[in-house]
C-alpha cells in the first residue's frame, strides 16, 4: 500500500502561463480542486487550488471595477499559485498512511507526488478515502460487525481465532482506539457469505468482547 499504487497517474496539470480565468474554467469543467502547475518536463513549479484562484481582495482593493476586470484577465496562475518551496509533496514510495498523516498534519487536501522534481502523480483526500473504502471492502456484500475489546495484546487474535474456528474467511478487518471509551479498542470485521445470525451467535461467545454494531451491506 504505497502512494505510487494509489495515486492518480498522469494527473491534469496546468502551466504557469495559464490565465486565472482559464484555470478556473478548466478546474470547474473537469471537477478538480487542485491543479499542479508544471514547466517543461512536468517539473513542479507550484500548485493552485480553487481557493487560491479566488484572488484576495487586498491585491485589487486599490483598483476600480474596470481595472479589476482588466487585471484579472491579465493575471496568470503563476501570480497566485503556491510556489514550489511551499507545496507539500510526497514521494511515490511513501506509504499511504504516511501520505494521510502528512495531509492531516499540514492540513492540505492534496499532495503532488514527485520523483526528481517531476510530477508523476497526485494523491488527494479522495484517493485515501477510496483506499479506506477498498480496505473495508465497502463494495462487497457481507456482514459488518463492530466489536469493542480491551486494548490488550492478543485480543484481536482471539477474535480472529474464533472466526477461523468456524471456518469462515475475513473479507476486511480494521481497528482503532474506540472513540469516547478510553482503554477500549474498536475492531471492525467484515465476513462474506455467512448469515447474520450465525455470526452474532458465534462472536458473542467471546469473553470480554462486545458486539456494538452489526449490519449487512450490499
Amino acid at each position: 500500500m504505497l502512494v505510487k499504487d494509489y495515486m492518480t497517474r498522469h494527473p491534469m496539470m496546468g502551466d504557469p502561463g495559464m490565465s486565472i480565468v482559464e484555470a478556473r474554467h478548466y478546474m470547474n469543467e473537469n471537477h478538480i480542486r487542485h491543479l499542479p502547475i508544471v514547466g517543461d518536463g512536468k517539473r513542479l513549479i507550484g500548485l493552485v487550488s480553487r481557493q487560491t484562484l479566488l484572488v484576495e481582495p487586498g491585491r485589487i482593493s486599490s483598483l476600480d471595477i474596470w481595472e479589476i476586470a482588466h487585471h484579472l484577465s491579465k493575471m496568470t496562475v503563476s501570480d497566485v499559485m503556491v510556489r514550489k518551496e511551499d507545496v507539500v509533496t510526497i514521494d511515490p514510495d511513501a506509504t499511504i498512511e504516511e501520505a494521510a498523516r502528512v495531509m492531516v498534519e499540514k492540513k492540505v487536501g492534496c499532495l503532488p507526488v514527485l520523483e526528481d522534481e517531476v510530477v508523476v502523480g497526485i494523491i488527494t483526500e479522495t484517493d485515501i478515502m477510496a483506499q479506506l473504502t477498498a480496505m473495508m471492502a465497502t463494495r462487497i456484500p457481507g456482514v459488518r460487525v463492530t466489536i469493542h475489546m480491551p486494548e490488550v495484546r492478543g485480543e484481536l487474535a482471539r477474535l480472529v481465532a474464533a472466526i477461523s474456528a468456524q471456518g469462515w474467511g475475513i473479507l476486511a478487518c480494521g481497528g482503532a482506539p474506540a472513540p469516547r471509551e478510553p482503554g477500549k479498542w474498536e475492531a471492525v470485521i467484515k465476513i462474506r457469505g455467512v448469515p447474520r445470525g450465525e455470526i452474532v451467535a458465534a462472536l458473542s461467545q467471546i469473553k470480554g468482547q462486545e458486539i456494538v454494531d452489526v449490519r449487512e451491506t450490499d
Binding site: 492518480t8 491534469m12 496539470m13 473537469n30 478538480i32 514547466g39 517543461d40 518536463g41 512536468k42 479522495t126
Partner: protein, 702 residues
C-alpha cells in the same frame, strides 16, 4: 472517486482536417470523434488512405505546411489542443504525448548515437545533466528488455536489428512517462515473431506506466490482440466505434462487417468456406458520394443511403455506428448478395490429381558473398536455399511460409529460372528445369509463370493493360494473331475487369485491379504451374479477398497447379492444400494444411502460430516467443539451424546438445506430413494446440 476519473486522457470531438492542394482544399478527415480513457488501448483501424494517420498527426499538430484542422476539438486531459501556441504544444510533445511510428530505421537519426538521441529527450524537457539522463535511458532500455543497454547507447541505429530499433523508439517515447502514447503501425515493418514480441512489450508497458495508448493499424489481427476499444475509419471518417469484441463479433456497420468477412479466419479453408470481398474502391476525398460514403460499395444500400448522409449514433450502449440500418445489421437481418461469391462449382479432380507437376530434390541456391578482404580470403556463400525437397501434384496448391530472409523467394526464383541453382534436381512435368530461363525452350517457359507481390510494380507503367496481357499471348502464340484481342478481353472478363480496361494505363488502376491484370498476364499462356509470390500481402484487406477468390476460380477452371508464398498464416491455411514452413533456407515442416496447424508441430511452426495475429478477440494463443534474431545465412548455425532460438530443446535429454552438432532427421508423421526435428514425435504430439478459440458464442459472422 479518484481525481477526474471520468475525464478521458484524450477526447476528440468532430475533428476535421483538410489539406490545401493545387486542386483546392481536400478534407482528409471529417467528423471524427472518440475518447481514450486513462490506461486504455484504443485502436483506430482502417485501410490505407482512410485518414487514420492524419488523425494521429493532427493530435500532435504535425500536419505539414498545407494541412490544418478546420473543425472540432482535441481535448487532451480536458484542455483543447487546437489553437494552442507552438511552444505550448512543443512542451507537450515528447513529454505528455509521445508517438511511435512505422519503420524504426527511418525514425532514428542515422548519424547520431542512440544514447544521444535518447538522452536529449530528458535533457531538453527536464533540463537533466547528461550523465544523469544517460543513466535514466539505460534504465529505460532495460525496461523495454533491450539486451546490453549500456552498449546500445554507444551504437548507431544501423548497428542494431529492426526489432531492437523499435524497442529503442518505444523507450524514447516512454522516457518522460507520457499520459498518451500514439503508435502508428509500429509493427508493420517487422516480421511476425518480432511483431509478437513488440506487442507483448507494449501491453506490459501499458499497465506498468498506466499510459493511454492510441494504436493505429490496418491489421485486424494486431488490433484484436492489443486493444480494449476500437474505432473503424473509412474514407476519412469514423464509421463505427465500440469495444473490441463488439467490433469483431457484432459489427453494426456494413463496412466493418465486410472487413470481417474479407479476412480468412485461421482454420478456414477454401473447400468449406468463402471470402466475401467488398466491391469497388474507396472514393477519393474530393469526390465523395452525396449520401452515405460507403453506399456505392454497400451490399445493403437502400434509397435513403444515396440521399442522406447518416451521422454516427449510439446503437447500443457504448456501440456507435454510422449506418441508417445499424440495428438490422447488428441483428444479422441483412445478408450479402450472392453474386459476389466465387464460382467454384466447376471443381473437378480427375485421376490426374496424383500426377507430379513439380518435383524438387536437394535444391540449393547459394549466392557469392562479397569478400571482406582486399585480396584472397575464402570465398563465402549466402546459403539462401539449402537442401530443400518437395513436390506438387497436379491441381494442388503448395504454400510456402516463413519470415523474411528464410529463402522462400529465392526458392521460387530458382524454380522459375531467374536464379541459378547450385545443386539439386528440379523436374517439371518430367523435364529438367535446373537451367536459367534464358536457355529454356518456349514451351517450358510458357508453362511456368509467376504472379508478383507488389501491385505498383507488377505492371509496366508505360503500356496499356491490353498490351501487357497481349504480350504473352503473342509470344507464346497461345491464340492466332487475329484472335489476340478477343482473348485479352476474355481474360479481362474472367478477371471481372471488363473490356473497357483494355486501353487503360496501370496508373489508372487501383492496387487490386493491377494485381488482377498481373494474374491475367500470368495465366494468358495457360501455364501448368503458377508461382504466386505474396500476391495479396500488399493489398488492403477488402481487396485481398477478391484477388484470392480470383486465383481460386482460375485454379478451378484451368486446373492450374500453384505455389503460393506468403507470410500470413491465415491466408496460406485458407488457400493451400499443402504447406511447407521454411527457416533459414530449409524446410522444417511440410504437410497437408490442416496437419500443420495442429500438433505435432515443429517447434518453429509452433512459435510462428503463437505469434500470428488473429483477427478474433476470442482466440487464445499460447505464449511462445523466440529469443534473438534470425542468424545470418552466411554462417548458418550447425546441426539444426533453429537450435539457437528453439524454445523446445528442453524436451530433449541434456538440453538438446544433439541439436548443435547433428542435422536433425526427417520424421514421418503421416505419408505426407514430415517434421525436421530431433525431438521424438511422441513428445511433439504432446504439445498443446497453440490456438484455441473460445467458441461459447458462435458468431454469426464466420
Amino acid at each position: 472517486m479518484r481525481q477526474a476519473r471520468d475525464i478521458p486522457v484524450l477526447r476528440v470531438e468532430n475533428l476535421a482536417i483538410s489539406y490545401e492542394t493545387r486542386y483546392g482544399d481536400v478534407q482528409a478527415v471529417r467528423d471524427v470523434s472518440f475518447e481514450i480513457q486513462r490506461g486504455d488501448a484504443y485502436s483506430i483501424v482502417g485501410e490505407s488512405g482512410c485518414g487514420k494517420s492524419t488523425v494521429a498527426f493532427g493530435i500532435v499538430n504535425f500536419l505539414g505546411r498545407n494541412g490544418k484542422i478546420v473543425d472540432g476539438r482535441i481535448l487532451f486531459q480536458g484542455r483543447d489542443l487546437v489553437g494552442r501556441s507552438q511552444e505550448e504544444l512543443r512542451k507537450l510533445r515528447g513529454d505528455r504525448i509521445a508517438m511511435v511510428y512505422q519503420d524504426p530505421m527511418q525514425a532514428l537519426n542515422p548519424t547520431l548515437r542512440l544514447g544521444d538521441q535518447l538522452s536529449e529527450v530528458l535533457i531538453v524537457h527536464r533540463g537533466m545533466a547528461r550523465s544523469e539522463a544517460e543513466d535514466r535511458c539505460v534504465h529505460m532500455l532495460e525496461q523495454v528488455h533491450m539486451p546490453d543497454p549500456a552498449n546500445v547507447m554507444q551504437r548507431y541505429p544501423h548497428q542494431i536489428s529492426g526489432g531492437q530499433q523499435q524497442r529503442v523508439v518505444i523507450a524514447m517515447a516512454l522516457l518522460n512517462d507520457p499520459a498518451l502514447l500514439i503508435m502508428d503501425e509500429p509493427t508493420t515493418a517487422l516480421d511476425v515473431t518480432v511483431e509478437a514480441a513488440v506487442l507483448d512489450l507494449v501491453a506490459e508497458l501499458q499497465t506498468k506506466f498506466d499510459t493511454a495508448i492510441m494504436y493505429i493499424s490496418h491489421n485486424l489481427g494486431v488490433v484484436a490482440r492489443v486493444s480494449d476499444r476500437v474505432g473503424v475509419m473509412y474514407a476519412g471518417t469514423m464509421v463505427e466505434r465500440a469495444s473490441v469484441s463488439d467490433i469483431y463479433l457484432h459489427p453494426s456497420h456494413p463496412y466493418t462487417l465486410g472487413l470481417m468477412h474479407c479476412v480468412p479466419k485461421l482454420g478456414m479453408d477454401k473447400s468449406s468456406s468463402y471470402l466475401y470481398p467488398i466491391r469497388g474502391r474507396v472514393p477519393s476525398p474530393k469526390n465523395l458520394p452525396p449520401g452515405c460514403i460507403f453506399e456505392p460499395r454497400c451490399d445493403f444500400a437502400r434509397k435513403i443511403c444515396q440521399e442522406e448522409r447518416p451521422s454516427i449514433r449510439e446503437v447500443e450502449p457504448g456501440h456507435w455506428s454510422r449506418c441508417h440500418f445499424a440495428e438490422q445489421v447488428l441483428a444479422g437481418e441483412l445478408q450479402p448478395l450472392a453474386h459476389l461469391l466465387p464460382n467454384l462449382e466447376a471443381r473437378e479432380r480427375s485421376g490426374e490429381a496424383s500426377k507430379l507437376v513439380l518435383n524438387v530434390e536437394g535444391a540449393r541456391t547459394y549466392y557469392d558473398a562479397p569478400s571482406t578482404k582486399l585480396i584472397g580470403g575464402e570465398k563465402q556463400f549466402v546459403k539462401a536455399v539449402d537442401d530443400v525437397s518437395f513436390s506438387i501434384r497436379k491441381g494442388q496448391t503448395l504454400g510456402i511460409v516463413g519470415e523474411s530472409g528464410c529463402g522462400k523467394s529465392t526458392l521460387v526464383k530458382t524454380i522459375i529460372g531467374l536464379e541459378k541453382p547450385t545443386a539439386g534436381t528440379f523436374e517439371f512435368m518430367g523435364v529438367d528445369i535446373s537451367t536459367p530461363v534464358s536457355s529454356r525452350d518456349l514451351d517450358l517457359i510458357k508453362n511456368l509463370q509467376m504472379v508478383f507481390q507488389n501491385p505498383d510494380s507488377t505492371l509496366n507503367p508505360s503500356y496499356s493493360v491490353g498490351a501487357q496481357i497481349a504480350r504473352p499471348l503473342r509470344r507464346f502464340k497461345t491464340v492466332p494473331r487475329n484472335d489476340v484481342r478477343d482473348e485479352v478481353v476474355r481474360l479481362l472478363n474472367m478477371m471481372r475487369l471488363g473490356e473497357n480496361y483494355y486501353d487503360r494505363l496501370p496508373r489508372q488502376l487501383s492496387g487490386g485491379e493491377k494485381q488482377r491484370v498481373g494474374i491475367a498476364r500470368a495465366i494468358a499462356g495457360r501455364p501448368e504451374l503458377v508461382m504466386c509470390d505474396e500476391p495479396v500481402s500488399a493489398l488492403d484487406v477488402s481487396v485481398q479477398a477478391a484477388v484470392l477468390n480470383l486465383l481460386l476460380e482460375v485454379q478451378n477452371e484451368m486446373g492450374t497447379t500453384m505455389a503460393f508464398i506468403a507470410h500470413d498464416l491465415s491466408v496460406v491455411r485458407f488457400f493451400c492444400d499443402t504447406i511447407a514452413v521454411m527457416y533459414l533456407g530449409q524446410i522444417v515442416e511440410i504437410g497437408p494444411a490442416e496437419a500443420i496447424y495442429a500438433p505435432p508441430y515443429h517447434p518453429y511452426t509452433e512459435a510462428l502460430l503463437s505469434a500470428v495475429p488473429i483477427p478474433d478477440p476470442r482466440v487464445e494463443q499460447k505464449h511462445i516467443r523466440l529469443m534473438g534474431g534470425v542468424p545470418s545465412a552466411l554462417h548458418p548455425p550447425s546441426g539444426c539451424r533453429f537450435h539457437t532460438r528453439c524454445p523446445r530443446r528442453s524436451l530433449l535429454p541434456d538440453g538438446g546438445a544433439i541439436c548443435e552438432t547433428t542435422v536433425p532427421p526427417w520424421q514421418q508423421v503421416t505419408e505426407e506430413h514430415r517434421i525436421f526435428c530431433h525431438i521424438p514425435l511422441e513428445e511433439l504430439y504432446k504439445l498443446e494446440a497453440v490456438i484455441t478459440i473460445d467458441v461459447e458464442e458462435e458468431s454469426h459472422v464466420g
